[in-house]
C-alpha cells in the first residue's frame, strides 16, 4: 500500500486577518491540517507609548492609555491615575471614585460584549455580533453623554474625574443595568446551549492551573483553570471592598470555561453596578485637591488592577519631576498571548481561531 508523500506547509496568517482582531501575525507550520509549530509576530501597532510618556506630564499621558486597550479605555485610565495618586498620597472624593467604579464596570460589560460578539463571529455565528454591539452601543452612548467620547474617553484625572455625571445619567445607567440582566439571559438562550457551538469550544485549548500561573496568565484565562484570583477581591482597590460579588471560576481551563467565566463576569459586574448606583452619593466634588503641577515624589510604584483582560499594571519611576522617568505598563493581552504557541501545537487549523479568540487579546495593548 503506497503512502501519499506529504510535506510541511508554511502558512502565514495576518497581519491583516479578521480573526486576529487587529494587526497580529502568526506563522504556522502545518502537517496536513495539524499545526506543528506556531510563531507569533507582533509590533505592527507598536507606538512607543512608554517612550513618549517620558516626555509628557501625567495628565498628558492619560489619552495615550486610552489607545492601549481601546476596548477598555476606562480601566487603562484608572491604572495610571491610581498609580500617581498613590505615589502622591492623594485622596479622591467619594463621588468621583463612585463614578470611576461605575464606568469601569460598564466598561467591563462593554468589553466582554465585544468579545462575545466577535468570538462567535470567529466561530461562524453571525447574528450574536449584532445583538452584542447593539447593547454595547448603549454603554458607549452613556459614556458619550458622560465625557463626549465613545472609545477614547480621557475621562479620569489624577485626583478625580473630568466631568460630573449629567442630570439623569445615573437613572439611565440604572435602566440599562435592569434591562441588561434580561439581555444576558437572552444571550445564553441564543448561544450557550448550541450544540455546534459547544462542540467547537469544549475541551479546546485546555491548560491546567500550574501552566496558567507559570505563563503569568490573568483574568478569565487564569480563572478558567479554577484559580480564584481577582484583584478586585484579592487586592482590593477603588471601592470594590464595599460591594458584594462573586468571582466565577472554571475547572478545565478550556475555551468553554473561559466563555462561561466571562459571561458570568458580566452578571457580577451588573451586581456591582446595582449596588454602586444605589449608594451613589447624590452630590459632592468630582475632583480632589490636587497640586496644579503633578509631581509625584521621587520613588517608584507598581499598581495593578483587574481589567476585563486581566491584571493591568503600571510601574512608575519618578524623580520628582512632572514627567515620569520611566513608565511601564504591564499589559494583560501581551502576557496572556504568550501561551498561544504552546496551545496551538497539535491542534487543527480551525482551532487556531477558536483558541486565539478565547484568549481575548486587544492588539493595541499587546503592542503598546
Amino acid at each position: 500500500m503506497g503512502v501519499i508523500r506529504t510535506e510541511e506547509l508554511l502558512l502565514n496568517v495576518g497581519p491583516q486577518h479578521p480573526s486576529t482582531h487587529g494587526v497580529f501575525r502568526i506563522i504556522v507550520k502545518l502537517d496536513g491540517e495539524i499545526i506543528t509549530e506556531a510563531t507569533p509576530v507582533m509590533g505592527y501597532l507598536h507606538r512607543g507609548t512608554e517612550k513618549l510618556a517620558e516626555s509628557l506630564n501625567y495628565t498628558q499621558i492619560i489619552p495615550y492609555t486610552d489607545r492601549m486597550d481601546y476596548v477598555s479605555a476606562m480601566t487603562n485610565n484608572y491604572v495610571l491615575v491610581h498609580a500617581v495618586e498613590k505615589m502622591m498620597g492623594l485622596t479622591v472624593p467619594e463621588r468621583a471614585e463612585f463614578l470611576r467604579l461605575i464606568v469601569m464596570e460598564l466598561q467591563r460589560i462593554a468589553s466582554h460584549l465585544v468579545w462575545w460578539g466577535t468570538y462567535l463571529l470567529d466561530i461562524g455565528a453571525l447574528s450574536p455580533f449584532l445583538y452584542a454591539f447593539n447593547d454595547r452601543e448603549r454603554i458607549l452612548q452613556l459614556f458619550n453623554e458622560l465625557c463626549g467620547a465613545r472609545l477614547t474617553y480621557n475621562y479620569m484625572r489624577v485626583g478625580g474625574v473630568k466631568w460630573d455625571a449629567p442630570e439623569g445619567w445615573i437613572d439611565k445607567v440604572k435602566d440599562f443595568v435592569k434591562s441588561m440582566y434580561g439581555k444576558l439571559d437572552d444571550y445564553h438562550a441564543l448561544v450557550s446551549g448550541n450544540e455546534i457551538f459547544l462542540s467547537r469550544i469544549k475541551g479546546v485549548g485546555a491548560y491546567d492551573a500550574e501552566t496558567a500561573i507559570a505563563y503569568g496568565l490573568s483574568g478569565a484565562n487564569l480563572r478558567s483553570t479554577g484559580v480564584k484570583w481577582d484583584l478586585r477581591k484579592n487586592e482590593p482597590y477603588s471601592l470594590y471592598d464595599r460591594f458584594e460579588f462573586d468571582v466565577p471560576v472554571g475547572r478545565n481551563g478550556d475555551c468553554y470555561d473561559r466563555y462561561v467565566v466571562r459571561m458570568e463576569e458580566i452578571r457580577q459586574s451588573l451586581r456591582i453596578l446595582e449596588q454602586a448606583l444605589e449608594q451613589f452619593p447624590p452630590e459632592g466634588e468630582t475632583m480632589g485637591k490636587v497640586p496644579r503641577v503633578i509631581r509625584p515624589p521621587a520613588g517608584e510604584i507598581y499598581v495593578r488592577i483587574e481589567s476585563p483582560r486581566g491584571e493591568i499594571g503600571c510601574y512608575i519611576v519618578s524623580t520628582g519631576k512632572a514627567e515620569p522617568y520611566r513608565l511601564k505598563f504591564r499589559r494583560p493581552s501581551f502576557v496572556n498571548l504568550q501561551i498561544l504557541p504552546k496551545l496551538l501545537v497539535g491542534e487543527s487549523m480551525t482551532n487556531l481561531v477558536t483558541i486565539l479568540g478565547g484568549i481575548d487579546i486587544v492588539l493595541g495593548e499587546v503592542d503598546c
Binding site: 498620597g89 503641577v293 515624589p297
Partner: protein, 330 residues
Amino acid sequence: MSEEERKRPGEPEDDVSAASAGEQRTGTLEDGVSAANIGERRSGAPEDGGSAVSAGEKRTEAPEAGAAATGAGTPRPKAAETAADGARTEPAAPARRKETEEEKAARRKAALEAREAAKAAKAAAAAQDAAAQAGSPGAAQAGPQAASPGAASAGPAGAAAETNEPPPKPPSPNQPRLDRAVQLLRELVADDAVESASINEANDHLPTIVVRKERWLQAARLFRSHEELNANYLRNVTGVDYETHMEVVYHLLSLDSGHNYAIKVRTDRDRPSVPSVTPVWETANWNEREIYDLLGIDFPGHPDLRRIMMPDDWEGHPLRKDYVPLDPEV
C-alpha cells in the same frame, strides 16, 4: 481658576523665585491645598528633593512643609508665612517657630521612619549641604531634630541631621517578611546574594531586594520553589535605564499567600546582561524579549532572544535615555 493660572507655577521657576514673597505664596497655595491629604508624604519629600537641588530650592520647600505640618489647626497662609519667614531670615520669632518646627519634626519623623539607610544617608548629606549653603534655616528644614534652638548655626544642625541617620526602626508590617527573605537568600543562595533590601512604603510596604546579578538565577529558583516564599507568579518585568546603570525589576507574587516582592537586578550600562529567568517563570520569555528589544539588555539563557516590538533590522534600543533615531524623519 483659569487655564493660564494653572500653568504658570508649573515651571521650575517657582524655585528660583523663592525670594519674592508673592511667588512664595503661590507656591504655598499650590501645595497648601493638597497638604491636608498628603501631609505626611510631602513633609518627607524635602530630603529627597534636597539631595538633588541647590539650597535655593530647599528654601521653597520650607513653606510647603510648614503648611503641611500645621495642617488644619492654624490658618494656612499665616502658618506658611511664618515658616517662610523663618526660612528666609535668621531666627525671627524663636518661640513661635519652635512650635511649628516641633510639629513638623513629629511628622517628618513618622515619614522618615521606614526610610532605607541609603536614603537617610542621602538626607544627611543633603542636610549638610543645605546647612553649608543656606545656613541654619536650611539645615533646620532637613533635620527633624533641628527643631531644638541649638540649630542656630550650621555645624550643630548638620550634626543633628546626622544623628538621625539610623532612624527608629521602621515598624513596617512587612519588615519581618523582608528580613526572612533576605536571610533565606543569604543562607541558601550565597552570602553576597543580597546587595540591599528595603521596604517601599509608598507601594503598600512592598519588600524590595536588590539581588547580585551573578546570583540572580539561583535566587529566582529559590523564590519560585521555597515553600515559605513560594513566589509562583511573576507579575511584571521592567527594564529601567538609570543612565549610570541598567536595572531589571521583577514583581513577584505568591498566589497562595498573596505576598508580594520586588526584586531588582542591576547591571552595567556598556554591556548590560542579566541571567534569564525564563526557565523559572515561563512568562519572563516575552517580557525579556521586550526589554532586550527596547533597552538592549542581554539575557543569557533565554531560549529565543530576538526583537519583539521593533523590526528585526532596527538600529538601537529606543527606550534608552541616549537613544537617537537613525533617521529622525521616521
